[in-house]
């Protein structure tokens, strides 16, 4: 863990009496290692390191009796501050239905998260409608339909040949007819460099009043998390993040990178494959996990 590594660093430096700024840099190298191992983006690590360096020197850690613990606390608090804040609850539209669009890379957990979100919001008294807007992946519509059935949540889908912007527009129309007040759009996984599919998301937004666009990110995503999120964000402004597969042991540094660079708040965390495996986001827990 970072605290042990820092203990090791500082015990070597202890015999020297007062620590110098150069010694602080030795400690910061351990922090950098820990963050990179946790998949925090290279450039974000540099920023975080600089901020921590200022605080470490400013708070006279060099004179502390427990410098390792002091540095860990500074780092931890810095991460909590970076991760936290922002609107963490799902925003509701001024007039129903609220439309939530889930977007992200292939396989990140959008379809599963759509079902989880439907269950979560129904427990809060909403009437959700799930929308099968992935017309590409084999059996994607089947997958969402089955999940909806398991939860007794209605699923809107159209036969082969229908286009996602039309499907979504028709779904919202149906929601209004059935007095469903929450429409959750499950979109196809896509690469941020696919112009056509990025345009498709813009087209959906143009046809449907989307209140929340949630980027669904796999906790194990590596260095590219920032570039991917930024590009999605430039096409359809993201309003929140769902970090999935946090029931594994991926440290989840991607969450810090995405939040730090795009400013998008993490709203939910996926902690399993079942429909009830969705948690609110706790910045201090994820901060501890990233530090390892």
């Amino acid at each position: 863990a970072l605290s042990d590594r820092l203990e090791g660093v500082f015990s070597k430096l202890r015999g020297k009496g007062k620590l110098s700024e150069a010694d602080v840099d030795i400690a910061l190298r351990e922090v950098r290692l820990a963050l990179l191992e946790a998949d925090v983006n290279f450039k974000v690590v540099k920023d975080v390191q600089n901020r921590i360096r200022e605080k470490t020197i400013g708070e006279h850690v060099m004179e502390s009796l427990t410098p390792a613990q002091h540095v860990v606390k500074i780092v931890h608090d810095e991460l909590v501050e970076l991760l936290g804040g922002g609107q963490r609850r799902l925003e509701m539209a001024g007039s129903p239905p609220t439309v939530v669009m889930l977007v992200g890379l292939q396989g990140s957990g959008k379809t599963t998260s759509a079902a989880k979100l439907a269950l979560h919001m129904r427990k809060q008294g909403r009437r959700p409608l799930l929308v099968a807007a992935d017309v590409y992946r084999p059996a994607a519509i089947d997958q969402l339909t089955q999940l909806g059935k398991q939860l007794s949540v209605p699923v809107y889908s159209e036969p082969a040949g229908a286009k996602p912007p039309d499907i979504c527009a028709n779904a919202v129309k149906k929601a209004r007819e059935d007095a469903d007040d929450l429409v959750i759009l499950d979109t196809a996984g896509r690469l941020q460099i696919n112009h056509e599919l990025m345009a498709e998301l813009e087209q959906i937004k143009a046809r449907v009043p989307v209140t929340e666009t949630l980027f669904v990110a796999d906790a194990m995503t590596g260095q590219e998390a920032v570039n991917v999120a930024q590009e999605f964000h430039s096409h359809v402004p993201l309003t929140g993040l769902i970090l999935t597969k946090m029931d594994g042991d991926a440290r989840g540094g991607a969450a810090l990178s995405i939040r730090a660079v795009t400013g998008v708040p993490v709203k939910f965390v996926g902690i399993g494959e079942k429909a009830d495996a969705l948690e609110p986001f706790y910045p201090d827990r994820v901060a501890s996990r990233i530090l390892g």
């Binding site: 990179l36 998949d39 890379l105 089947d142 339909t145």
Partner: protein
């Protein structure tokens, strides 16, 4: 001497940044850069171009594997496809089936993911696209039983390759990893030598966790190779250097898209080239 082409500390720093951003990981990056420094010294390399070329050469050599292609046996081979959730197992099976048919084999698929919603339907769709039969039971049935059945069907029909899909599973889930251990050992009892290949699917967009995945999956099933998917993304899949370094696993194929033809045998030179794009 041309200052612009001289090998400076800055060159090594830029290289380090490139590798870390490619998910090679800090430790592995340091090892690779250290090896390059030695080679630059040993071979008396003076220009950056020379160093770059030596490096690409070094890295490609590191990933290359003499064992060509898949280990197939007669009369039936079982290839088990494993990995964590969402990495591309099911899609890759569709691609592999097409690839193997193209190479003159007869293939059938085993719908070993009996858990996830519409997993069986998804594999059946790929089976139909590839023009190969799919052996499936009811959702919720025992994956070992499905694979057992598939082996029997292959023997009966004279099919020589069985591709077995399995449910995505996080390596931290003890029960699921034990299930995989059982699937692997039951297959071996039914068909001597099975599974002839256990292919771990690794997502190119994943970071350092893929190394832990590889280690844990190797503990419960005899992983024989990797398939790196989603290399058409902007991610570079650099974690494979650490996997190769620590586990010696060869990369057999790469996935480069969502179409059935988006699979290619691994080419170390091209992969390394992709890191420097």
């Amino acid at each position: 001497f041309n200052r612009k082409t001289e090998i400076t500390e800055e060159f090594y720093e830029e290289l380090e940044e490139l590798l870390i951003q490619a998910d090679v990981g800090v430790m592995t990056t340091q090892r690779l850069i250290e090896a390059l420094r030695e080679r630059v010294e040993d071979d008396n390399i003076r220009a950056i171009d020379g160093a770059r070329e030596a490096f690409r050469d070094e890295m490609a050599g590191f990933l290359e594997d003499e064992s060509e292609g898949l280990r197939l046996a007669q009369p039936v081979s079982l290839l088990l496809i494993v990995g964590v959730n969402g990495v591309g197992k099911t899609t890759t099976i569709g691609k592999l089936a097409t690839y193997l048919k193209g190479a003159g084999h007869s293939v059938l698929l085993a719908a070993g993911d009996t858990f996830r919603a519409a997993a069986i339907e998804q594999l059946q769709a790929w089976g139909s696209r590839a023009g190969v039969p799919v052996i499936a039971h009811q959702p919720g049935s025992d994956p070992s039983a499905v694979i057992f059945d598939a082996i029997a069907a292959a023997e009966a029909r004279g099919v020589d390759v069985v591709l077995a899909d399995t449910a995505g599973r996080l390596h931290t889930k003890f029960n699921l990893m034990e299930e995989l251990r059982k699937v692997s050992s039951v297959a071996g009892k039914r068909l001597p030598g099975a599974p002839h290949e256990v292919l771990l699917i690794v997502d190119a967009t994943s970071g350092q966790n893929a190394l832990i995945q590889a280690k844990q999956f190797t503990e419960v099933s005899p992983v024989t190779g990797l398939i790196v998917t989603k290399l058409d993304s902007t991610a570079k899949g650099g974690i494979v250097f650490a996997i190769r370094d620590e586990l010696g696993l060869p990369i057999k194929f790469v996935g480069t898209g969502e179409k059935i033809s988006d699979l290619a045998p691994f080419d170390a030179g091209r992969f390394v080239g992709g890191l420097f794009d």
